[in-house]
């Protein structure tokens, strides 16, 4: 048995929104979307943290319980790595600076010369075709094998490290710059020259900005390669640097030390990459993924 009153309550609908309340409803809709987005971001962050905790936690546990045999000599453990970082902080700091300095220099020299030569080749394709065979042979060499030569010529020095990094970075950036120049829509060049731009203006105002996205993608790669070159060179022979440390700790059966160095390298690489991304999003404001 339902009384008329309860029936009325059951079918009561929310009042039809008044037109004057449009702004309020719009704000509510925006807030709801924002809330959903924020919740999603929080979930993702939580999952990411959880994953890291699980990996490090199980490593720690397996190391302590003996699931990993002779863990102290071969596998280390997160708490040990942390301890190692604290105990050797001044030594690691000095060596990290040496590596960062060389990697940055290698990146700066290799990338700027790569972009420059790439643009020259883009501007004068005949030049590119002339150099093509030489460049291809050099680029397909495993560059780490050049380390002994650099050591022979420049001794155990920063120059050797930096040059090895340059020899890798240069070609990565060079080939991508050429590709970037080629990727520019030929219709845009035609439009520009029909509008009265000289070949030089077409290059500077159309080709160059058009190639920037591809060049930037190469620069991000180049940073990684610069680290690879420097650390690789240090592993072969150097006075100081994280590459020297990683070899020493490995040979001394100090896995915590090796992992400590890897952790530092990871942090450095992440910082480099973040700096580059900031610059990129400023320059590429016009692209959808950077707005």
């Amino acid at each position: 048995m339902t009384t008329p009153a309860t029936t009325a309550a059951a079918v009561a609908r929310p009042e039809a929104p008044r037109l004057s309340d449009r702004d309020g409803r719009m704000e509510a809709a925006k807030a709801a979307v924002r809330r959903r987005k924020r919740n999603r971001t929080l979930t993702v962050r939580a999952l990411q943290v959880l994953l890291v905790v699980v990996i490090l936690g199980s490593w720690e546990i397996m190391s302590r319980t003996g699931v990993l045999p002779d863990a102290k000599l071969f596998y280390g453990r997160p708490s040990g790595v942390a301890q190692f970082l604290v105990d050797n902080r001044s030594h690691l700091w000095t060596d990290a600076l040496a590596t960062i300095y060389a990697a940055f220099l290698g990146f700066a020299i290799g990338a700027s010369s790569g972009v420059l030569v790439g643009l020259l080749f883009g501007r004068w394709p005949l030049l590119e075709r002339a150099f093509d065979p030489v460049m291809n042979v050099l680029a397909s060499l495993p560059r780490l094998a050049l380390a002994p030569l650099f050591l022979l010529w420049f001794g155990i020095s920063d120059t050797s490290k930096v040059l090895l990094a340059v020899s890798i970075v240069f070609f990565v950036v060079l080939f991508n710059t050429i590709a970037g120049v080629r990727s520019v829509d030929s219709e845009l060049r035609t439009v520009a020259s029909l509008l009265g731009a000289s070949p030089r203006q077409v290059f500077i105002k159309v080709v160059l900005p058009g190639a920037v996205p591809v060049i930037f993608a190469a620069l991000r790669l180049a940073l990684m390669f610069s680290m690879l070159g420097v650390v690789g060179s240090e592993m072969i022979a150097a006075k100081s640097g994280l590459g020297v440390d990683v070899v020493t700790y490995g040979q001394n059966l100090e896995p915590n030390g090796v992992f400590a160095v890897l952790a530092i390298l990871a942090v450095v690489a992440a910082l480099f990459s973040a700096a580059l991304r900031t610059l990129e999003s400023r320059l590429l404001r016009w692209m959808p993924e950077h707005s």
């Binding site: 520009a192 509008l195 105002k205 404001r285």
Partner: protein, 277 residues
């Protein structure tokens, strides 16, 4: 976005004393040569476009109409024959920046804002910044894009980008308009609006125009004369009988227009069968 308000003729809008222009094709033939093959694209074209005439070139795909336009622009060199583009008594060396070109595909530079795109032609000519800003502003307003100056092309709809292309073409105040299906990729309503606006802009300037289109109705609405192409040649040369200024919205529904539109369709069919007038 109507132009009725902005199209007032004031002292600022009046173009400088326009030059007398014209163009002439004399026995023009073009072979498209690829690695293995050569194809006859157009053969023995002869026609004249007098000062201030709006010529539409129509025809099926592959008939060579875009090649005709590209030859006028100097993007394609004729294999044989003579093309003469004149401004007053001067014969232009092609390509020339006194010709304004507009494509079907929008070709704004994606890294430049609308304003910086429209001013590109003036910038490369070295016009001082203040002067070019002022001029660019005027043309952006004319095509109905006032307020979007700082937007990048990706933030504009397709129709707005084509308006931007039109503003860029107008901004350099060229002596000729060369247009290759400029409105063909637009939705029907935007297209009709842009045809109307362009028609008004054109009637205020009357620059010699070559307008390539596959849309016969568009040709009839805009042009003074329609060249109907068969494969590689001009099959029919048809004057358009409608007076200017034209109100396209009305014109397209009049019986006279529909009769003319039908005539064009018949001529195109005949041209594609290989007949010529």
């Amino acid at each position: 976005m109507t132009l009725s308000v902005t199209m007032r003729r004031g002292p600022a809008m009046a173009p400088a004393q326009p030059a007398r222009t014209g163009l002439r094709f004399e026995h023009v033939t073009h072979w498209y040569v690829s690695d293995r093959d050569a194809k006859l694209v157009v053969e023995d074209l002869t026609f004249d476009v007098p000062d201030g005439q709006f010529v539409a070139v129509v025809g099926g795909s592959g008939c060579g109409k875009t090649t005709v336009l590209n030859m006028v622009a100097g993007l394609v060199r004729p294999t044989e024959g003579l093309i003469e583009v004149r401004v007053d008594d001067e014969v232009l060396t092609l390509p020339s920046s006194r010709l304004g070109y507009m494509w079907a595909r929008d070709s704004l530079l994606p890294w430049r804002s609308l304003r910086r795109n429209v001013e590109f032609g003036l910038e490369v000519r070295g016009m001082p910044k203040g002067e070019r800003r002022e001029r660019v502003e005027r043309y952006i307003t004319m095509v109905g894009l006032a307020g979007s100056e700082r937007k990048f092309p990706r933030q504009l709809s397709h129709g707005m980008r084509q308006r931007g292309n039109l503003a860029r073409l107008l901004a350099t105040e060229p002596d000729f308009y060369l247009m290759d299906e400029p409105f063909s990729a637009l939705d029907a309503q935007t297209k009709a609006a842009m045809q109307q606006e362009f028609s008004q802009i054109w009637e205020n300037r009357r620059r010699t125009t070559v307008y390539v289109t596959h849309d016969l109705t568009e040709a009839a609405l805009l042009a003074d004369r329609v060249l109907v192409m068969g494969t590689g040649y001009i099959a029919y040369d048809i004057p358009v009988p409608f007076e200017r200024p034209r109100g396209l919205g009305e014109l397209r529904f009049t019986p006279d227009f529909q009769t003319f539109d039908r005539l064009l369709w018949d001529r195109l069919r005949q041209a594609q069968r290989g007949e010529r007038g």
